[in-house]
Symmetry: C2
């Protein structure tokens, strides 16, 4: 990626035809257009997305999270190979808003998934970069549509497991998988509140060797805990299993659960309902982010806000009045 | 409430003096000003809030939630009386955005808390009404400041336990208490995802008679489940206890836990940090709501959005492009 130089662009039609025919090189170049911040590329990206839209959606979208050290890359590699053996085409994307801030990007080190990336029916793409989570999530979600249009019927969206990107991934996938380790305690502190409740499945990873017994105990503990929590609108009871990516055990169980889930939510109508809901919310998220950008992107507003924050903490102004004052200022700016 | 007719208004100074001297009648009338939607009252409200602001904040703010039927009113009555016996002044507010939609308001039936409301050191106020949760939450939070300025050192903020009002209550209180019933299963479905994780304490209520054994089992189950979940930034480990409001058991345990919590978070600095964070977020919530109102309150925007929603579901336009289109429209409106 570091040596990447933009090649001359193709026509929109060339990208569209290439993606629809499943050409991996063209798919990569089309995703580069999606990720580009050049104005001319943005127009091109819109034309491509608009054209491939009807061909998108024919996949199961699986979000995968877990704290660093849980073994996500190895799990995805083994899981991906399993799916390809079953005849699937697997695309692997990721959301990591931190990657450009050099906190270490996921999937950046492609060699970690070399065996998988060499397979014809696998497509691996590192996280887009961007200044905002919303921007990165947009690019990943649009890349997902391109992958689907290119014939990938399983899309795995990986997240780093330490921030808010889980919510973004949960909002664009059908099934949410949380990787955990036995031995609970401190490792868990990395998992933010609310993430556990999004999980459709918890996999206790690295359940091998001396760790098998602890993993089974952890599995039971999580299973009991999840029973207590409220059921999802999908009607699905979250499943807890254990797996070992290195010993290749428990991997087929994960796919079996996802297959069962897909069947349940297709039959009860939740699958399409959730997809539609996600699409609509995607529009509203973009609108709301743009509204905020119009306001908070204003330099005068930004400097006034930092003064107001200090006054609020000093109890010199009420938060409600502070908000009113600054909105009035904003309206005045827009008038002039 | 139904026979309420506005009395002639006092001067701002009369409200301020009355509140600061702890006059319950003036406090009630000042809160009525806060809740009023008349433009003249809004100006008066701002003057009152601004003046009492430095005298606010000297309380422990306790959010209380639980599904209907869990026995919230009875618990609050018994808990409130316990606190008053200990020498505290207790204000009881509530957030129920549904109350005006006649889905049955909480605290509306004051007779439910008659014994408490007759005590001199108790102040009970039913939920403000309003069209938006944000609006109702604003009024409740400002009423809370008035109660504190009037000398109430414990503020209980009750919520109905079926919607998003829990997040609003959590965002304005220091300690969040979740009432539950033994027998788990179906009753729990009323508790929304994420609420359990906000709880600093879970009280298994109605732990009396034949229910004691089940309540103890439920207590252990919840205690185990909460251990698995990530720790709060406060450094506090959520506590699970059982109580009976009718038998008056377990009530002092609740207050003991809150006292311990207060001590912990005062010492580790979380108390003031969280209060400041809440105040700042309160301003931003108000700004963001107003930005949305400016946009979504526009009739042309609203009708275009419903068309775009249909087009998105039909895959005729991408959510990102739909958002861009409507934002452009909005900018055009504002120019003309």
């Amino acid at each position: 990626m570091t040596n990447y130089k933009p090649k001359s662009r193709l026509t929109a039609q060339a990208y569209i035809d290439g993606v629809l025919s499943g050409d991996r090189v063209i798919l990569s170049r089309a995703i580069t257009i999606i990720e580009s911040n050049l104005e001319s590329d943005k127009l091109l990206a819109k034309a491509i997305i608009q054209a491939i839209l009807p061909a998108s959606g024919n996949s199961i979208r699986i979000g995968i999270t877990g704290v660093p050290g849980v073994g996500k890359s190895t799990f995805i590699e083994v899981f991906g190979k399993h799916l390809i053996t079953q005849g699937h085409k697997v695309a692997i994307l990721s959301i990591d808003p931190s990657s450009q801030r050099s906190r270490g990007s996921i999937l950046g080190d492609k060699t970690r998934m070399e065996a998988l990336s060499n397979l014809e029916n696998a497509y691996i793409r590192p996280s887009a970069s961007g200044t905002t989570l919303g921007g990165v999530a947009n690019k990943t979600a649009e890349s997902m549509l391109l992958c689907e249009a290119a014939g990938y019927d399983v899309v795995l969206v990986e997240t780093v497991g330490v921030g808010q990107s889980e919510t973004a991934v949960h909002g664009m996938t059908d099934f949410f998988l949380l990787l955990m380790l036995a031995g609970a305690g401190d490792e868990l502190q990395g998992i933010k509140k609310g993430i556990m409740e999004m999980a459709d499945m918890v996999v206790i990873n690295k359940a091998d060797g001396d760790n098998v017994r602890n993993s089974e105990m952890a599995r039971l503990q999580y299973q009991n805990a999840l029973h207590i929590f409220p059921q999802s609108d999908s009607g699905w009871e979250p499943v807890v299993t254990k797996a070992s990516s290195t010993k290749n055990t428990g991997i087929s169980t994960v796919w079996d659960a996802i297959t069962k889930y897909k069947q349940l939510v297709t039959e009860n109508g939740y699958f399409i309902k959730n997809r539609n809901h996600q699409k609509i919310r995607w529009m509203y998220n973009n609108i709301n982010e743009e509204l905020k950008r119009m306001f908070y992107g204003n330099k005068d507003i930004a400097s006034k806000l930092s003064v107001l924050e200090k006054d609020i903490i000093a109890s010199e102004i009420s938060p409600v009045k502070a908000a009113e004052n600054i909105i009035e200022k904003f309206k005045d700016f827009n008038k002039t």
